[in-house]
């Protein structure tokens, strides 16, 4: 019996030895490995978003800044499994149960914080905090969010932020961007995202099994993004937007000697503040389905026939080419014939007209006559030397090329030879011609600065002298001839651009009316969508021009009545800026917000 008891003790002793060996294995041999696992349990690396750089206008007015934002997130593991409770959570944070599940599916890490809402209003934060106890893992954190100080003003230039798309995340440019972070998805915010973004920091926190943060272990501070100074003049920009009011269209104002963009307006605008903290699907759908397409940048993406504004090119080409001189007269009897009848806009005709009068009164017959005598390729040469028919290269996505037709182009694109009759249409800015508002502004700038073609740019780089992209070979005398005609357009009797007449500064410009439907059916009483597009390209002042402005109003009717007054307001604001008055500025913003929201709502039914 005693022997068996002793044996039993030895058996137990053996088991103890096995345990000790196992302990040795776990604690000594694999100790460091388990220590790592233990830390992985406990320590969580949280990205600390870097504040984005501030965007200023040319006069150092901040346009976009960062403000404190309350963000709500929940640890994936803690998302309620019970559907009823999930619905309650959804109600609390204003999301559907499906949306929460969808967001949770994006990560495999059960301990990752799933972002539910960002930029939550303070009252709502209080409500969520009060209910937080019912939802373990629900967190409210303070981060920084973007605020667009001027509301919808310059929305197409500044752009907006959004989460990176899966496609973006797979590119090296965005490889170090946390999936939850907001990056520029439009406009300057997108183009210069890598500069504005900065480097996110990392926060190492100790968490318990439920994801509650117990303490901070280490913080690696984020590096703030770099600021960007734009060439934009927010006053000019705002005035241009106000001038466009509820119209659809675009205004581009450039500094004639450098290509700096003073204003780049696309109307209708959108409110980039809607995108802060993630745009909700209702707002997004409204933006996408708005028939006025507020997300489209009409200043660079829209292209239409330039109408009579193109006569500037035609005139220059004819003068340079020797087809006409200053005094070459043509007779306008209201129409001319070349295979078919080409009508002047003025039924009674202009009588005998020289170049100056032809520009001032925008006589079509005069330019048809040029069209009869000039080669299309000559026109095309000057048009493209002045930047038409190709993207200008501005720092924004989605720029259209437009089209300057030539014999070569037609042969290639249409497999047909060019007919001289078509040159007549091009001579007055119709036909295959198609240009963007920004191209027209650049063209105007190049003409008045003696042919120097600058790349329009939005970012102000003080270190760099503006270098023209190319210089068109134009005789300064011819330029002066055209310029005096353009000033006549505004200031002389019978000029089509009288509405741009300013007492402050001498403005020159050319009106244009781009046909939407051909033929003779015209009039004020046509429905809007059949109304012509209105153009006005202009510069100021007459001597030593500093600014070039192009205005395009969709279905605006006549350029002279619709577009010219807008150009005048823009130019006057540039030369006579409003006095700095913060109260006034705030008032302006308040006015704009309700105005924007009204038309954005889709029609009922």
């Amino acid at each position: 019996m005693d022997k068996r008891i002793t044996t039993a003790f030895y058996v137990l002793l053996c088991i103890f030895c096995v345990f000790v060996l196992r302990l040795w294995h776990l604690q000594v041999i694999k100790g460091s490995e388990y220590k790592r696992l233990d830390e992985r349990n406990r320590l969580r690396v949280v990205d600390v978003p870097a504040p984005r750089g501030v965007i200023y206008d040319r006069n150092d007015n901040p346009l976009v800044k960062n403000v404190m934002s309350f963000d709500v997130s929940i640890v994936k593991e803690d998302i309620p499994k019970d559907y009823q409770i999930l619905l309650e959570l959804g109600k609390l944070v204003g999301l559907s149960a499906e949306e929460i599940k969808k967001r949770a599916r994006a990560t495999a890490n059960p301990f990752e914080a799933i972002s539910l809402r960002q930029n939550v209003q303070f009252e709502e934060v209080a409500r969520i905090e009060a209910k937080k106890i019912d939802f373990p893992g629900l967190q409210v954190e303070v981060t920084s969010a973007r605020e667009y100080l001027y509301g919808q003003t310059a929305s197409h230039v500044l752009g907006y932020l959004g989460n990176p798309t899966p496609k973006q995340l797979s590119t090296p440019e965005y490889s170090d961007v946390p999936r939850q972070e907001y990056i520029g998805q439009f406009g300057i915010e997108k183009k210069y995202d890598s500069i504005l973004r900065g480097t996110p920091g990392k926060k190492i926190v100790e968490v318990d099994a439920l994801g509650n943060v117990i303490k901070f272990v280490r913080i690696q501070k984020p590096t703030r993004g770099n600021d960007i100074k734009l060439t934009l003049d927010i006053n000019v920009q705002a005035e241009a937007e106000k001038a466009l009011e509820d119209k659809s269209g675009a205004v581009v104002a450039l500094k004639a000697g450098t290509g700096e963009v003073l204003a780049l307006v696309s109307a209708p605008p959108f409110n980039p503040n809607l995108f802060v903290g993630g745009i909700n699907s209702k707002d997004w759908k409204e933006l996408l389905n708005d028939p006025r397409k507020p997300l489209m940048n009409r200043a660079i993406s829209n292209h239409f026939p330039p109408g009579s504004t193109f006569k500037i090119i035609t005139a220059l080409a004819a003068l340079e080419n020797g087809t006409v001189t200053e005094s070459t007269p043509f007779f306008c009897g209201g129409s001319t014939t070349f295979g078919r009848v080409f009508r002047c806009w003025k039924d009674g005709g202009h009588g005998g007209v020289s170049l100056h009068r032809a520009i001032v009164e925008s006589c079509d017959v005069y330019f048809y006559e040029i069209g009869k005598r000039i080669n299309i390729d000559t026109i095309a040469k000057y048009a493209s030397a002045l930047g038409l028919g190709r993207p200008t290269g501005i720092e924004l996505d989605g720029e259209a090329a437009g089209l300057v037709p030539s014999t070569k182009w037609k042969l290639k694109a249409r497999k047909e030879k060019w007919y001289q009759g078509e040159t007549l249409s091009v001579a007055i800015g119709q036909g295959y011609l198609s240009v963007t508002p920004i191209q027209m502004a650049r063209m105007m700038a190049a003409v008045v600065n003696g042919g120097k073609l600058f790349k329009p740019h939005l970012v102000k780089n003080e270190d760099l002298e503006a270098e023209p992209e190319s210089v068109a070979d134009i005789n300064p005398g011819n330029v002066e001839l055209v310029k005096s005609g353009l000033v006549g357009v505004v200031y002389e009797g019978g000029g089509t651009g009288r509405a741009a007449r300013s007492d402050i500064v001498s403005i020159g410009g050319k009106t244009g009316t781009a046909q939407v439907i051909g033929g003779a059916v015209k009039g004020k009483y046509l429905p809007d969508e059949f109304q012509d597009h209105a153009w006005f390209v202009s510069f100021a002042p007459q001597y030593d021009p500093q600014i070039a402005v192009s205005v395009f109003v969709e279905h605006g009717g006549h350029g002279g009545s619709t577009a010219a007054p807008i150009a005048k307001r823009v130019i006057e604001t540039y030369f006579n800026p409003p006095k700095k008055d913060s109260e006034d500025g705030e008032q302006k913003q308040e006015e704009q917000v309700p105005e924007n929201q009204e038309p954005a709502k889709p029609d009922a039914g």
């Binding site: 068996r4 039993a8 137990l12 103890f16 302990l23 040795w24 776990l26 388990y34 349990n41 406990r42």
Partner: protein, 373 residues
Amino acid sequence: MIDRRLLKDFDWGFLGMVIVLALIGLMTIFSATRPLLEAEQHPYYLRQLNWIILSLVCFSLMLIFDYRWLVRFAHIFYVLGVVLLVFVLIAGRKGMGAQRWIDLGFLSFQPSEFFKLFFVGALARYLSGLEQGMKLGSKQLVRMLAGFLIFPAILILKQPDLGTMLILIFIFTAMVLTVGIEKKILITVVVIGMIATPVAGKFLWGGLKDYQKNRIIAFIDPQVDPQGIGYHVTQSKVSIGAGGFLGKGYLRGTQGPYRFLPENHTDFIFSIFAEEWGFIGSLVLFTCYLFIIWRGFETAKQSRDIEGTYLALGVTYMFSFYFIVNVGMTLGLMPVVGIPLPLMSYGGTALLSNFLALSIIENVRMRRFASYY
């Protein structure tokens, strides 16, 4: 009261070690349940302290009664125990998917915890009634199986309390083997066992609850579902391993208070201890347990009569089995069954029943030379 000569033979070292382990348990419970965010400490350690004091009192009181008296009435206790087991199935309090507790209003207890002691007593009574030195034959074996083991084992499995049932089977087997068994019966049992295992295994597997099956699957391969069924085992190994050679230091452990290791103050208290005290501390702890077990076996050998031998032996087997299964489970060497670490785990009934069991060893030991009265 107690004869002064008995106090002379009292094993103070044994009692001291029991108290030391209980206090180590108390410290570890304090550490495992210490709050990190809330200001208030969970009152686990205070309740455990109360139970330790109560257990010590009971330990001492039990020493007054001669163990032979316990053996004499063991069959009555046994029947009483079975009645309680039946009662618990009919009217017991349910908790955590099991029906193990009897609620008396002011306290609730698990009859199965105490039944183990009655079981040991009944076995001792039966075995000491047999002719000494003989090997157990098939007749005795069947009698013991039918009389002591099968019925309560089924009752306890019904609760379900797999751990306690396994303990009964283990004590039974160990006792039978120690007393001695006829060779041909042993061979027969082994052969039948080998043949029947697949069949019985299938039957048993089918009888298990899903969570019990999952625990066994998780034991075989914790990686099957590290967040789910294998979670306990994985986190327990992480806790122990992270302790390293010297440990993180007292109150420096994180796995428990950070709630990565569930049930940390009950079944997984050793993992918490090992995280804070490391390999060296665990070795010391093992030595303490080994000391108690060694004293148990010594007592069985030195007992002045066979009743004392069987009682001490049964209790020592029970205590050893608790320790082996619990520590084996935290080390990932055995499946997770809900068995506490004796003396250290949080839980009043288990603590009291262990103190009572160990008081039997002390009882036998202090009376080992008492043949002169």
